[in-house]
């Protein structure tokens, strides 16, 4: 699909699907996890064995869905994006040091850090969650700190999420980016103001 005049394509369909599958999985796990974690909610909802099953299988579903999207979607495109997110040039470092102006590419350095942390939290959530599940069944997988890690990740990822939602939905200068993640395209003038070193591929 071509971008409308005045708009440029920022996110492919695969990237957007990956983002929204990740977001949906996170919120299902957050809701069921909070019922398991917060005493007030645990007491109110009850049915802990059921909520535990929902939480566990939603987690497995989340992992499988993300892997499927990556495998069935535009793998090459995802790989190129991953490389983009990996690389920090001089302007990115300046941006992180709050030295302005530091003209940014398709992703600014904050978005790159956010992507790395989100991926790392995903891995750690999965590992600690599996250890909690296995540890209930076999003492070899039981560590006294697993629950501390899983809970700590909750707080860390909530902090990241709050910042992400603020920039994507509320902050006037950046919230146009949400359009890119919903329909794929952003305004050309917005892109050249916020991401001046990004040259969108011609369509």
């Amino acid at each position: 699909m071509r971008a409308a005049p005045g708009y440029v394509r920022r996110f492919s369909r695969t990237e957007r699907t990956l983002h929204w599958v990740n977001a949906a999985g996170f919120f299902v796990l957050l809701a069921s996890g909070l019922v398991l974690y917060l005493p007030a909610l645990s007491a109110q909802v009850g049915r802990r064995p059921l909520v535990k099953d929902i939480h566990f299988w939603a987690g497995i579903g989340w992992i499988c869905a993300l892997v499927l999207v990556a495998l069935l979607g535009d793998r090459g495109g995802l790989l190129r994006t991953a490389k983009e997110l990996d690389r920090f040039d001089r302007e990115d470092v300046a941006w992180l040091r709050l030295r302005r102006p530091a003209p940014q590419g398709r992703f600014n350095a904050g978005q790159k850090v956010n992507a790395s942390l989100t991926a790392a939290f995903f891995v750690l959530f999965a590992v600690s969650g599996l250890l909690l599940w296995l540890g209930e069944r076999d003492t070899r997988f039981r560590f006294a700190s697993t629950v501390v890690l899983h809970d700590g990740l909750l707080y860390a990822s909530l902090a990241l999420l709050v910042g992400h939602l603020y920039l994507a939905v509320i902050h006037p200068a950046t919230r146009h980016a949400l359009r890119g993640m919903v329909v794929g395209t952003v305004r050309e003038d917005w892109a050249s103001e916020h991401h001046p070193r990004w040259s969108p591929p011609a369509e």
Binding site: G46, V93, A120, T139, F143, A144, V148
Partner: protein
Amino acid sequence: MADVHTHDAEEPRRFGRGVFLATVLGGVSSLVWGKGVWGHVSSALGGAEAFVPLVPTKGWRIYTVASSMPTFDPATWKLGVGGLVEQPLSLDYGALKALPRASQVSTFHCVTGWTVDGVHWRGVRIKDLLAQAKPKPAAHALQFVSAEKPYVDYLTLQQAMLGDVMLAYEMDGQPLPREHGAPLRLVIPDMYGYKNVKWVEQVNLVPKAGEGYWELLGYDRDAWVGRSNGYSS
């Protein structure tokens, strides 16, 4: 070698994977140091986290196994004491509270790794409960039956007579809250939480300790803190 200068101004650095790997490694290594560090942090906070809405108060988590949590009605509630006893008992809430009172401050350890320090308990020592029921010589263990079906667990008489074992009906100066087992729960601080049966409604004297709810799922019968269930400290 020219490579020495690879990270000059024009060459992008691979910080993304660095952030990712450092975070994953830090997180995985916290399986070793996490609990110790968190213990220091939470004691430095000095209970300040209790004022943050919704955060688990003092670190408690509420674990249950049935689809609904038992409710307590003081008008109809009874504690039965039976099995190998001369005198089976059926105590209502008033009769329970008329028994000699004991109080203690102890630490509560969950087998999943969380710990709550300085819990104030008030309740009845097992010996004071058994004084009326008079166990028969063949009785060597106690079965604690929860109103949350099918939860049961056992202690040997010897374990139940440890100085800080009690059936508690007050916690931190308040009647035991519903989610902590109202109106009565077993407290044995030397053993992990799953032995501290909540919603106790029946105590039976039995010849020997059997397998409780979690023991049937592979947990240790003698759940000593720090030396059971795969832990050694």
